[in-house]
């Protein structure tokens, strides 16, 4: 008799549980889809695949599952590989527009914004290709200058050499900077619900808290704490577990 009572009780509870879990709601179906997709993408990422589109898709899945911090992190990872990834950039802006408390976008002058857009447009590989084209143009310009007879006007080849040399140096510098950022991006994203900021690594007094999805710059780590700079310039210490770096430490060359 007791057996029957036990089985009956379990059956009732199991059915009530399944009613809770398997609610045929469209929202749940959508969540399940994104969960499955995320699992597939994470499996690919676990094999060491680094791809901007892969990180972008992981960001979309995380956002749809309500993980704003992870979404921001993966969009930043996509942009770290390809700063011209339009969809990742737009989705990051979309999140910032929805959550202006995360890291307010400064109102930049038009020319500064244009320069930054151009800088973003030239992703790492676009910069490399552009640099090669400029190297070839510079070489051709130098050939032209060197083989121009002395009795002929040399102003034009000199101009071509100067322009291509300046561009070559500028793009070369940009490539160096981007390469450095690609390997040593010190930014991190708050993935915990809320991250309390402390004055010192030993302190328990909370200076302030930052919400999930905030982007901070990591200066150094000490034990389980990391020293960070907030977007408004405030410095403090935060639990290392509550943030995740855009470029994992194993990938950086420090």
């Amino acid at each position: 008799m007791k057996h029957w009572i036990f089985i009956f009780g379990l059956l009732i509870l199991t059915f009530s549980l399944s009613a809770q879990v398997l609610n045929p709601d469209s929202l749940n179906a959508e969540q399940a889809f994104y969960q499955q997709t995320l699992q597939k993408l994470e499996a690919k990422a676990a094999h060491g695949v680094k791809n901007a589109d892969l990180f972008y898709d992981m960001g979309v899945c995380h956002y749809q599952l309500g993980n704003t911090g992870k979404a921001v992190l993966y969009f930043l990872r996509a942009l770290n590989l390809n700063s011209a990834h339009k969809q990742a950039k737009q989705n990051l802006l979309y999140i910032h527009n929805l959550h202006p408390e995360l890291s307010p976008e400064p109102n930049r002058p038009f020319l500064v914004q244009l320069f930054l857009n151009i800088y973003d447009f030239f992703s790492l590989n676009r910069l490399a290709i552009t640099l090669l084209i400029l190297a070839i143009l510079l070489t051709l310009s130098l050939h032209w200058l060197m083989h121009t007879p002395s009795e002929k006007e040399r102003g034009l080849p000199i101009l071509a050499v100067v322009i291509t040399a300046i561009l070559f140096i500028a793009f070369g510098s940009m490539l160096l900077v981007k390469n450095h950022r690609y390997r040593n991006d010190s930014r991190a994203v708050v993935i915990a619900n809320v991250a309390p900021i402390y004055h010192t690594p030993e302190s328990n007094n909370v200076l302030q808290t930052i919400p999930e999805g905030s982007v901070v710059v990591v200066i150094k780590t000490q034990g389980k704490k990391a020293q960070i700079i907030l977007p408004d310039g405030t410095q403090g210490w935060v639990d290392s577990n509550s943030i995740e770096r855009v470029v994992p430490v194993s990938n950086t060359k420090e």
Binding site: L127, Y182, P211
Partner: protein, 607 residues
Amino acid sequence: MVKKFACALLIVLSLMGILKAESVTVNAYLKEDVITLSDQLQLILEITCDKQVKVIAPPAPQIPGFSFRNVVGSTYIDYSLVNKNLFTKYIQTFTYIYIPQKTGTFTIPSFKVKVEKKEYYTPSLTVQVKESSPPPQKQYNLSPFLNPFGDELFNPNLIEGEVFLLCIPETDLAYVGEPVIISYYLYTEQAVEAFYAESEKDFEGYGKAVFLQPSSLQYESSVYNSKSYKRALIKQDVIFPHKAGRLQMPILTGQAQFLGFLNKTISSKPCWINVKPLPSGAPAGFTGAVGNFTVSQSVSSTKLNLGDALTFTINISGRGNFSQFTAAPFPNVDKFQVSAPYIQDKLANVIEGTRFIHYTLLPRETGELTIPGYTFSWFDTTSGVYKTFQGAPQEIKVHQANVLSYFSGLLEKDKPQALYPLLNLEYYPDFKNYSTEPWFWLILALCAISLIISSLVARENRLKELEPVAYAQKTAHRILNKYLKKATEAAEKLSPDFYPLAEIGLMDYLARKYGVSKSLPTPELIDALRTKGMPLELLEQLEQFLLLCQKARFMPGGAEAEKLDEALHQLRSLVQALSRFKPEKESSKKNRVTLPQKDINSKNEEQ
């Protein structure tokens, strides 16, 4: 056995508890984030929960530059109907009122809120305080016995007479989902100076939202039950019925204040409305919208490049239950990726205004693509029938992306309306950093090498052009080597061509290096070279070899192996000697020429 059952029951119950855990959302925002010194700052803390919870107002956060004044709490229930499912949310708000002390930009720190033993943190906020504009002319009387009715003064000492609250719905017959505004009026014969709303008792069958909350009592004359009263609007709520039948409206309770110190608690009289169910046969695209709407659709662009996105916007404007319906599913389009809808409301109040539903579409291929028209259905309360908006199909021309299209977006102001959708590619290639690839450095190295070669060639060309003599000297060795090589080959083949080849090579070399004529006879050539400062030993060696060549042309058996070897040996030593010899510069040459002359003169003088 019972123990086992109890354990299993406990585990399952705890699992259920986890699954059933209510989702609590805590948010804080400012009513206005830019205020003047004469304004009040209203910090609103909103706690949303699936069930009714009791939350004690958290202590007011310290804000630098502000002094805290008061906190006001309120609770309401939000009912929403999504996909025919009813969702209930209990929303509790606390409004913290602060007075600004100085101008500037201030940060409101995040603060802790405890809900059901769990801690939540609010986001930190920023507020800007500006100088206040000049105060307007005062149009009100600060006297406690103010005259709210103009000419018809209350008797300030009148403390008798009726005071009651009436709930007046704008209509007593409505459809399920149709918003109904209910107004609470204070009817009075006494001089009521203020009314403090304390609570609202809610009943089943509706959702509710605040429509209007006047900040002061504005009296007007009114007749109720054939009796004249003064009445003032206390509050207006919007009721969203979600159940058909006779529904009782909320009962408002508050305190009326007389003569500055006397309080009287009064509640609104019960009031009902009749709610009719929506007729059956709702169209497929019906998501619960009830009201009077005008719907239109638009696309941001009809021509775009592959890789660019377009925004498809549905514009729903009018009056209705905006909080009760959501976007209809987007029509199936295989050739586009469609984002989740982004809903943007621009409402004058909770029931009137415009809703924009934005979808971001990414084309998958080029060509002339068609987006089917959007379908949106609602129940029109005026005509009492379902209406459907069927948008026209949109033709979109998608071009192949070109070089210029890569630069699109550099100048655009980024304000995305919706989240871009998943790309969901079949294959994600591993990222390759071109700047670390061998071919990248190979191309750069080739450029550098070509520059080195080119600079050498250019230098030689310049020398040839500007200093032909120096160039001829420089190229002489090359020519000698060239002819020596031919002569050596001829010697190895025991060919009599060795002698003419060696002679030609030497003459050509000497002509280039010393500027002597190639057609000079040997003695004159030797004389000419002597004047160039060539050592006598070398001259003798050269003369001997040239004579040998001349003899060999006519000498029988001149091409014998031994003699050819010897001649070749001589030629080699001669070439080496010539290579080592560097002709002196013009100045030193002059000295060299003049010195022997002096010597000759001195010798002559001695003689």
